[in-house]
């Protein structure tokens, strides 16, 4: 594994490359680059942490308008069990490895504050993971196997066992956390490492994914083939606009499973998308991008160059949402957010988006990660967002759907923190 020379890279590019490369030597390269990193330590008292793994919002900073600001750097580590516990005697044989997993994760919680500045993480389990057990997941968990959701995709599926999502504003924190979990460090942020995941989980290198989100970060990737120079300087997402406004996100309560052994958990959907930015920025005008992202009623002034003129809402009115079908027919164009908003319930969104940009595979993309109580909620939103029902003139005018290309899909259960370590489908 080679570490990129700093050379002509900007500092952020360099760090991004470091996250993408990983590897033990990357860590020292990374620390050399930044010198001492001052990252707040975590807690010795696991009970002081929230019961939900996905309880991030109250620990995250907010932007100037009061919207949650996601951590800037992300790694998704794909895991498969090193030895299959079902080969042995189902649940019981899991006791020891589960303790190892819990112990390893608690090390991270001691090492880093649960915040943007420290580290946020979740561990999720796929339907394939649960498949090996005799029992089935309870009805309170809606976790189907992933499948193609539109007639324009032929995705590969996440069929490994588990996914670790590490997120921080500091790329070296996500990297060190990963190294700490896999026996490559002796201490992590000053915390001695006594247990790690090796022996329980193996990493699937080729399924490892990385990404970034935040104003200015996409525009730093114009060296990548398919990322045009015209990506706006301040854009937090590749497609140029702010996203994740408070009023168009589900609350964490809305996405949390209420009953049963996994109460306090959530389901997680992850799709990896290619995005076509050359056509989006070089052929479409800003006014067209605004219409296709938001709605044909949105004008450029209302939105601003990258969405800066919006505050805590994407500006959609109930009427505009109701008009989606009519806009398709009468105006020949509908907005992505407008379509997706049709899936709101009582005016509230039902999925919580935590998507981020990527240049994995040296091409621009999005790892579209969302949380919801039931996978059915995601399916409803995705169907609304796809808008195959709409009578839009040409597919390029049907929101942004012609600009995104689904390559992979995966579904996960994020158990509550208390059951995050190798859960069986029917814990007592």
């Amino acid at each position: 594994m080679t570490i990129p020379e700093r050379g002509g890279l900007s500092r952020r590019d360099y760090l991004r490359a470091v996250v993408a490369v990983g590897g033990a030597s990357a860590i020292s390269a990374c620390l050399d680059e930044r010198g001492e990193v001052d990252v707040p330590a975590g807690t010795d008292d696991p009970d002081s942490l929230p019961a939900r793994q996905h309880a991030w919002n109250e620990f995250l900073e907010t932007d100037d308008d009061g919207n949650v600001r996601p951590p800037e750097h992300h790694v998704l580590v794909a895991l498969s069990l090193a030895s299959d516990p079902a080969d042995r005697d189902d649940g019981d044989s899991l006791t020891e490895p589960a303790e190892t997993v819990e112990g390893s994760l608690q090390t991270l919680e001691r090492a880093y504050e649960w915040s943007n500045d420290g580290l946020l993480f979740t561990v999720g389990y796929t339907p394939s993971y649960f498949d090996r057990f005799d029992g089935e997941l309870p009805e309170t968990v809606d976790l189907p196997v992933p499948e193609a959701l539109t007639d324009r995709e032929d995705p590969a599926f996440d069929e490994f066992d588990a996914l670790l999502h590490l997120a921080s504003d500091h790329p070296e924190v996500v990297l060190r956390a990963e190294k700490a979990l896999f026996g490559e460090l002796e201490t992590v942020n000053g915390e001695p490492i006594e247990t790690d995941l090796t022996g329980v989980f193996e990493r699937l290198e080729e399924r490892r994914r990385t990404g970034f989100v935040g104003p200015g970060l996409p525009a730093e990737h114009t060296d990548v083939d398919g990322v045009p120079d015209s990506v706006p300087e301040e854009a937090p997402f590749f497609m140029g606009f702010r996203s994740g406004f408070r009023e168009s996100q589900a609350t964490e309560d809305r996405v949390t499973i209420r009953d049963g052994p996994f109460a306090g958990g959530a389901t997680q959907q992850l799709s990896s998308l290619d995005v076509q930015l050359d056509v989006w920025f070089e052929q479409e005008s800003h006014a067209q991008r605004v219409m296709k992202t938001f709605s044909p009623d949105h004008d450029e002034d209302q939105v601003g160059e990258v969405g800066e003129a919006l505050e805590t809402s994407n500006g959609l009115t109930d009427e505009q949402i109701d008009d989606t079908e009519a806009d398709a027919r009468n105006r020949g164009v509908v907005g992505h957010a407008q379509k997706a908003a049709r899936a709101r319930e009582d005016g509230e969104q039902i999925i919580l988006r935590r998507d981020f940009n990527t240049v994995d595979g040296d091409a621009p993309g999005t790892h579209f990660l969302s949380l919801q109580r039931e996978m059915d909620d995601f399916l409803a939103v995705r169907e609304a967002m796809t808008g195959a029902d709409l009578d839009v003139g040409i597919s390029q005018n049907n929101g942004i759907r012609s600009y995104i290309f689904v390559g992979r899909r995966g579904n996960y259960l994020l158990p509550p923190r208390s059951r995050r370590a190798l859960p069986t489908p029917r814990p007592d």
């Binding site: 290619d274 067209q288 003139g393």
Partner: protein, 398 residues
């Protein structure tokens, strides 16, 4: 007329021989910054015409292109063509944007798709995707091809595709199921996703040869109402596009012309204006009322068939939204017309109509004009499309 593609790379010089560029007597203004052409030696000079009519007009030049061997994929035949990157107009709602290639590197890739069995060109947008690779490496991100109309090429899928290096490229096309009503010989077809791929060379020879074959029209003609003759390299779609020939004809490229008005069945509705043909926004509307019992309607109603097309070349105007209202009968009723592709009459919009009597008026409201991307000469027509008012003639049975 019946040129065959008998070589892998058959260069077509579109259209008939044309005169030299006549600079004298120019009556149109040419935009200053483009008056000297694009300045890129690998591109022809693209002139923007000022004061274009709100109608189909003669462009500045005939495009030249290289035709590749058609490929089959499931029920489809795809004919790929390559040209130099060039401007076109994309439309979303009321926003029109001229796509201006910023350098000459790359190709303008065009694909005409037809049903192999019937030869009917499929002018329907279902989000055809293009993925380009070179030596196994992907080049750029996947893209969804635009649906486009041009005077010479008719309806096609296409885009400017930037390419940096010379060499052999592979293009892979994915056609998702067509979301359109199918009737006649096409009924039940086009429900599967199909993938096709082909290779092409991109090199200095291509960059030098193709643009050199561009033919400019006399400047006096630029912007005048009219249209270039369609390319006829092989069969065409007249008479419903039946490709009733045998294997020898493999390799023909279909042109998406719809049948002329007189070839449609049923009774023609008459423009209330008294004009010969119903038009709106310079599109010609062939409108027919088919008596009950037609194969288009299950019940006893009549079928209203509306077939909008470009003037001159009869290129179908697809993916519009229209509503028909009948008045003067017992009740006023409005129905949405459904886009339909038929083995005999190609693309049209239709609905079962009740309550039609001699003397009724049928108003066709254009809810959304064709959002299809336009090549030069079609970029100012089919926008402002007032309702088409028609009269039901006395000759129908009441």
């Amino acid at each position: 007329m019946d040129r065959r593609i008998d070589r892998r790379h058959f260069l077509v010089q579109a259209g008939a021989a044309a005169g030299a560029v006549a600079v004298a007597g120019c009556t149109l203004e040419v935009e200053d910054e483009t008056a000297d052409g694009s300045g890129d030696p690998t591109l022809p000079q693209f002139y923007e015409i000022q004061d274009k009519p709100d109608a189909v007009y003669l462009p500045t030049h005939r495009e030249a292109m290289e035709m590749l061997e058609p490929v089959e994929a499931g029920e489809y035949t795809l004919a790929p063509m390559l040209s130099y990157v060039h401007p076109f107009w994309i439309i979303s709602g009321d926003e029109i944007e001229r796509e201006e290639p910023d350098d000459g590197n790359g190709v303008h890739l065009m694909i005409v798709v037809w049903d192999t069995e019937t030869g009917v060109v499929l002018p329907i947008d279902s989000g055809t995707q293009l993925r380009v690779t070179k030596d196994g490496e992907r080049i750029g991100s996947p893209r969804t091809l635009w649906t486009m109309i041009s005077q010479q090429m008719g309806f096609h899928f296409g885009d400017n595709v930037p390419l940096a290096d010379d060499g052999t490229y592979t293009a892979e096309l994915t056609i998702p199921p067509l979301d359109v009503r199918t009737t006649g010989e096409l009924e039940g077809k086009f429900a599967e996703t199909e993938t096709a791929s082909f290779e092409f060379e991109y090199d200095a020879a291509f960059r030098n040869e193709i643009p050199a074959r561009v033919e400019y029209l006399d400047r006096e003609e630029w912007g005048e109402p009219g249209a270039l003759e369609p390319m006829r390299h092989g069969g065409d779609m007249e008479n419903g596009g039946h490709n009733d020939s045998d294997d020898e004809d493999a390799g023909h490229v279909q042109f998406s012309a719809l049948p002329p008005a007189e070839e449609y069945p049923g009774i023609g509705l008459e423009p209330s204006s008294g004009a010969d043909a119903a038009t709106s926004g310079d599109a010609v509307f062939v409108t027919r009322l088919l008596e009950s019992g037609s194969r288009f309607v299950e019940g006893g109603e009549r079928y209203l068939l509306v077939s909008p097309r470009t003037p001159y070349n009869r290129v179908p105007l697809a993916d519009m939204a229209m509503t028909a209202t009948v008045s003067g009968g017992e009740t006023d009723s409005a129905v949405a017309l459904e886009q339909t592709i038929d083995g005999e009459y190609g693309i049209h919009y239709g609905a079962a109509l009740a309550g039609v009597e001699p003397g009724s008026t049928v108003t066709i409201e254009i809810d959304s004009f064709p959002q299809v991307a336009r090549h030069q000469g079609y970029d100012t027509a089919f926008f402002d499309m007032p309702p088409v008012e028609l009269m039901v003639p006395d000759s129908i049975d009441s």
